[in-house]
Subunit: 254 residues, 2 copies
């Protein structure tokens, strides 16, 4: 079983996630879920502490069972990476070792440049992380940028960050349709809400909401419209003045 | 209590995370942990289903209690965003609404351009997500790029992705020290391991390891050195030939 199955070599669809000596079944399940969220399906387990298959992993995976069902067990990290050409080791601290250190987004850029094949990411045991011996098997180390004062990402979170960066790089999404964004003297949400509340009470009084059924939709559409503009403080004051004028309460605060 | 405390306005240090009607204390705790991982500390809770403070949230936060202790309760989303100038709504599906849709990295780029202040991210209830009424309060919607066939990020994971992108943008890390990366005909790890194994057994036979204490360190340093080169298949064959020649077994496979 372990260390002998090379049938996965031909599988395409993203890097292999290699969990080295994972301690808890729950964490394996949560990692599988994070993998599938990001379109990753190639899971390798090196000497998990609990017997495999594992009920707690299955329970935690909730819908990502396919990843667990296809997971392959290995006795050693060397076996798990044998058919790979690029290996990245995730570690908070590469110690006493000459090794390139990359951010996740830089690593996935390399992976994309390399044709997205025969690549794996090593993740160490929950408590201790990867040993120097395991680090030595890798082409480069990965350092996830996190708060140095609270850097303890759990296993599934670390897998999620790597998977997310991979998915983002592969999808190569342009990411934004940039509209006109007002940054100068932008109004607060309270200012806008105050205007909208006043507007709606006036509309109410004027019998604008003919049908009670339509009221929530109409109100929401109005609010969305005014939020979308990106109003400045001055514009809100102007609108308040407009409202006062239209409702016959004088337009002095325009 | 709820909706009245404006003292947080002056707090600096990243966007507010606003959990709208969160259902489970555990998820609030896990979200707080993900926040602190990314250096975020401003947590707002809008009408959580369970009483607050919540023991299960505390247990799950493990070390991120400071975020929970400082969390502020609000009755409505409008109250929670009242002092903000920019609000982003995380949602898998903005429905029937004209609204800019950004990727997380594009949203944090905007936030940085806007001076990283008075910004918040809305996260909806675990099951249902944000309502259209809540979406309407936002300047833009955020769509996290995930596998469309398995898009169900849990609450803490969604918070982690947003926080991670924010931290990355603020740290503005160059990310990689690009070395010479060989991509053409790169050797597999099995090829390299086979060479290293043979090298080490020869070294053993030749009395290279004078002290048993130093053996692990010396072996690891050797392995790290050869892994770091980025060997091609041809180079491994050459090295095997060199080894054969040096040990008197003929150099024909060079």
């Amino acid at each position: 079983m372990a260390g002998t199955d090379r049938s996965r070599t031909q599988i395409v669809g993203g890097p292999r996630i290699i969990l080295v000596e994972p301690q808890l079944g729950e964490n394996i399940g949560a990692a599988a879920r994070a993998m599938l969220n990001c379109g990753l399906v190639d899971l390798a387990l090196v000497a998990p502490r609990e017997p495999w298959p594992n009920d707690k992993a299955q329970a935690m995976a909730s819908g990502a069972d396919v990843v667990l069902d296809e997971a392959i067990l290995f006795d050693t990290v060397e076996d798990a990476v044998a058919d790979l050409k690029w290996v990245y080791a995730t570690s908070a601290r590469p110690r006493d070792m000459t090794k390139r250190v990359l951010r996740p987004h830089a690593a996935v850029a390399e992976i994309r440049d390399n044709g997205d094949q025969q690549t794996g990411f090593l993740f160490g045991p929950e408590r201790s992380g990867l040993s120097n011996s395991h680090m030595a098997l890798a082409d480069a180390a990965i350092s996830v940028p996190v708060n140095p004062a609270y850097a303890s990402l759990n296993l599934a979170q670390a897998v999620l960050i790597i998977g997310y960066e991979w998915f983002k790089a592969m999808a190569d999404t342009p990411g934004h349709i940039k509209g006109n964004v007002v940054t100068h003297d932008k109004a607060t949400k309270a200012d806008i809400s105050a205007f909208l509340g006043r507007l709606e009470s006036h509309l109410e009084r004027h019998g604008f909401f003919r049908s009670e059924d339509m009221r929530p939709t109409v109100t929401r559409n109005l609010r969305n419209l005014f939020q979308r503009i990106g109003l400045t403080e001055q514009e809100v004051r102007t609108l308040q003045g407009v409202l006062s004028a239209l409702t016959g309460r004088g337009g002095s605060n325009r």
